[in-house]
Amino acid sequence: MTRNAIKDLILEIIEDIDEDADFDTLQADKPLRDQLDLDSMDFLDIVMELRKRHKLQIPEEDYPELATLDSCVNYLEPLLADA
C-alpha cells in the first residue's frame, strides 16, 4: 500500500467513527485526537478496524505510534507493504 493509500485508509476509518469529522484543517504532524476531538475510546476503533480490515495485530505499547497522521503512515507502511 502506498503512503497515500494508507493516509486515505486512516481518514476513511476516522470518518466511519465520526461522520462529522472535519479534515479540511487537519495537520498531518499534529495529534489526531486533539484536532478531531477523539477520545481514547474512539481511538481504539482505529486499532480495531485496522485489525478487522488488514489482520494487523497492533500491540498496546505501539498505540502511541498512531498519534498523528504522519506517524500512522510511517508505522503502517512496512506492515502494509504487501497489502
Binding site: I17, D18, D20, D37, D39, S40, M41, D42, L44, D45, V47, M48, E49, R51, K52, E60
Partner: protein
C-alpha cells in the same frame, strides 16, 4: 465449544459489552440466566399489555452535537444511530419536600438555577461555585471517599437545599446510605441536572431488541436460561464455565456483569470485602384509565419527594419507608407517539430481610405487597390529588421480586456499596462490568460494559 469472549449476564452492561466486541470479533457468547434479557431493565406481560421494569427515565440526555457527552460517546462506540432510538426529552421534574419547599428542574439547567435563586437566595452564589467545582472535577480519578454531603454544606450552608439536591441523585444512583462519594455525586449531578432525562419512544423491549439485533447481525450469540454454575479456573487464569445443565464452554476471556460477590461465588471464593447494608426498594405500578386526569402536577415526569424533617436515604427498620420516594409518570415525555396507557409509579426504600421473613409465612407476603400498594397510594395522592377511582390495575415489586428475576444479592438494584472502578478483581482474564463496577443507570451501565472491554479485553483478543 470455545469462544474468545464469554459474557455472563444479559443486562444492559453485558449487551453493550457484547455488541461493542462483536463489531470487531464476531464469535462472542452472552449468557443470561433468566428466560429474557435486560436484567434490571426488562419487561413482563399482564392484562394483554407490556409493563416495563426498572426504566423510569434515562439520564444523560445530550443534544446530537455534544461529542463528548456520555450518550453520544456510547452511540459512537456501539455504532448505533441516534435516529434508531427515537429520543423524547422529559417535560419537567420536581423535588418536593412536603410542607417545606419545592424545586422544579428540566433538561434546561437554567430552570433549576432560577428556582434556587428564588427560593434559596442565600445559597445562590454557593450553588454557582458548586457547579464550577462539578464541571472541573474528574470523577474517574481514584481517590479515597470524599463526603458529597460535606462539600454541599460547605458551599450552600443550608441543610434543606443539601437534602433536596441529594434526594434525586441518591434515588437514581447511590448504593450507599445517607451520603455519596463526591465522584459519584459529580457523575449523577451531571447525568440528572446538567444533562437531563429522556426516554425512547418505544418500550424498553424495543431498546433491548435493537441492541440484540445489532449484536446478532455482527455475528454474536445469546443464550437465555443459561445459568453459570461455576467458573473454571486454575489459580488466577480462567478457562471457561460450567453451566447448570452440565455443559462446559471454554473461553479466552470472561466479562462478568452479575456483581462482585455473585462472581466470586462462581469462583468458590469469598471477596473479603466489608459487608455494608445493600439498599432495597419497592415499586408499585398504578395503571390508570386512559382518559383520566390528575388534579395536580399532572405534567411532571418524575417527582422526588420527602415528608420527613431530614431526608433519610437508608435501609428502613420496617418493610417500607413511605416518608420519601419517587413518583414517575412514564407518559410525561415530550411528543411521545400515541401512548396507549397512563401510569403512576411509586418507589420507596425497603428492607430486604423483613420481606424475606414474611415469605416464610404463606399468605403474609402477598398481603404485605397489597398493603404496600394501599399505603403508597395516599402518599402519591397527597401530591397528585385523588386518583384511586381511576386505577384499572396495579402491581408491586419487592426486593424479593428483583432478586428472583435478576439474581442480585438482596434484590439490591444498585448492588454492592463497594465498587470496583477498574473492573479488576484479581484474575488474569476475567473482568467485572455493570452495577458493581460503579457506573449506574442505563447509559452508565452500558458505558461500563463498553469501557471495561475497551480497557482490558479488546486490545488482547
Amino acid at each position: 465449544m470455545h469462544v474468545p469472549l464469554l459474557i455472563i449476564g444479559g443486562g444492559l452492561s453485558g449487551l453493550a459489552a457484547a455488541l461493542r466486541t462483536a463489531r470487531f470479533v464476531p464469535d462472542v457468547l452472552l449468557l443470561e440466566k433468566h428466560s429474557r434479557i435486560g436484567g434490571l431493565n426488562s419487561y413482563y406481560y399482564r392484562n394483554n399489555r407490556l409493563f416495563e421494569t426498572g426504566l423510569h427515565a434515562i439520564t444523560n440526555y445530550a443534544p446530537p452535537k455534544v461529542k463528548n457527552a456520555p450518550l453520544n460517546r456510547l452511540l459512537r462506540q456501539l455504532k448505533i444511530k441516534r435516529s434508531e432510538l427515537d429520543l423524547h426529552e422529559q417535560n419537567q421534574s420536581e423535588i418536593r419536600f412536603l410542607g417545606r419547599e419545592s424545586l422544579l428542574f428540566s433538561n434546561n439547567f437554567s430552570l433549576l438555577e432560577s428556582q434556587i435563586a428564588d427560593k434559596f437566595p442565600a445559597s445562590c452564589q454557593g450553588f454557582l461555585k458548586l457547579k464550577e467545582l462539578i464541571e472541573q472535577y474528574d470523577p474517574f480519578k481514584p481517590l479515597p471517599f470524599i463526603s458529597a454531603k460535606k462539600i454541599l454544606m460547605e458551599h450552600l450552608h443550608d441543610d434543606l437545599l443539601t437534602d433536596m439536591l441529594l434526594c434525586p441523585l441518591m434515588y437514581y444512583g447511590s448504593s450507599i446510605e445517607n451520603d455519596m462519594d463526591l465522584g459519584q455525586f459529580v457523575i449523577m449531578f451531571k447525568a440528572i441536572f446538567l444533562e437531563g432525562m429522556f426516554r425512547p419512544g418505544g418500550t424498553i423491549k424495543d431498546l433491548l431488541d435493537l441492541l440484540q439485533k445489532h449484536y446478532t447481525d455482527h455475528g454474536g450469540s445469546i443464550r437465555t436460561q443459561a445459568g453459570v454454575q461455576r467458573i473454571l479456573h486454575s489459580g488466577n487464569r480462567i478457562h471457561g464455565v460450567l453451566l447448570s445443565n452440565g455443559e462446559e464452554i471454554l473461553c479466552d476471556h470472561i466479562l462478568s456483569t452479575i456483581g462482585s460477590e455473585e462472581t466470586f461465588a462462581l469462583l468458590d471464593k469469598v471477596s473479603g470485602y466489608k459487608i455494608l447494608p445493600r439498599l432495597g426498594f419497592v415499586e408499585t405500578i398504578f395503571e390508570l384509565k386512559e382518559d383520566s386526569t390528575l388534579k395536580h402536577s399532572h405534567d411532571r415526569t418524575i417527582i422526588f419527594f420527602n415528608s420527613a424533617d431530614r431526608f433519610s436515604y437508608q435501609q428502613p427498620q420496617t418493610l417500607v419507608d413511605f416518608k420519601s420516594g419517587v413518583i414517575c409518570m412514564p407518559q410525561n415525555f415530550q411528543n411521545l407517539p400515541g401512548v396507549p396507557f397512563k401510569e403512576v409509579r411509586t418507589t420507596h426504600l425497603a428492607n430486604y430481610s423483613e420481606w424475606q421473613n414474611l415469605q416464610k409465612e404463606n399468605n403474609s407476603y402477598s398481603s404485605a405487597k397489597e398493603e404496600t400498594a394501599l399505603s403508597s397510594l395516599p402518599v402519591a395522592e397527597k401530591i397528585l390529588g385523588n386518583f384511586a377511582q381511576n386505577i384499572v390495575y396495579h402491581d408491586t415489586f419487592t426486593p424479593l421480586t428483583i432478586e428472583r428475576y435478576t439474581s442480585k444479592i438482596n434484590g439490591a438494584i444498585y448492588g454492592n456499596p463497594i465498587k470496583i472502578k477498574n473492573g479488576d478483581i484479581g484474575y488474569d482474564n476475567l473482568y467485572l462490568a455493570g452495577t458493581d463496577q460503579g457506573f449506574l443507570g442505563i447509559i452508565g451501565s452500558m458505558l461500563s460494559g463498553v469501557s471495561i472491554v475497551n480497557q482490558h479485553i479488546l486490545p488482547r483478543l
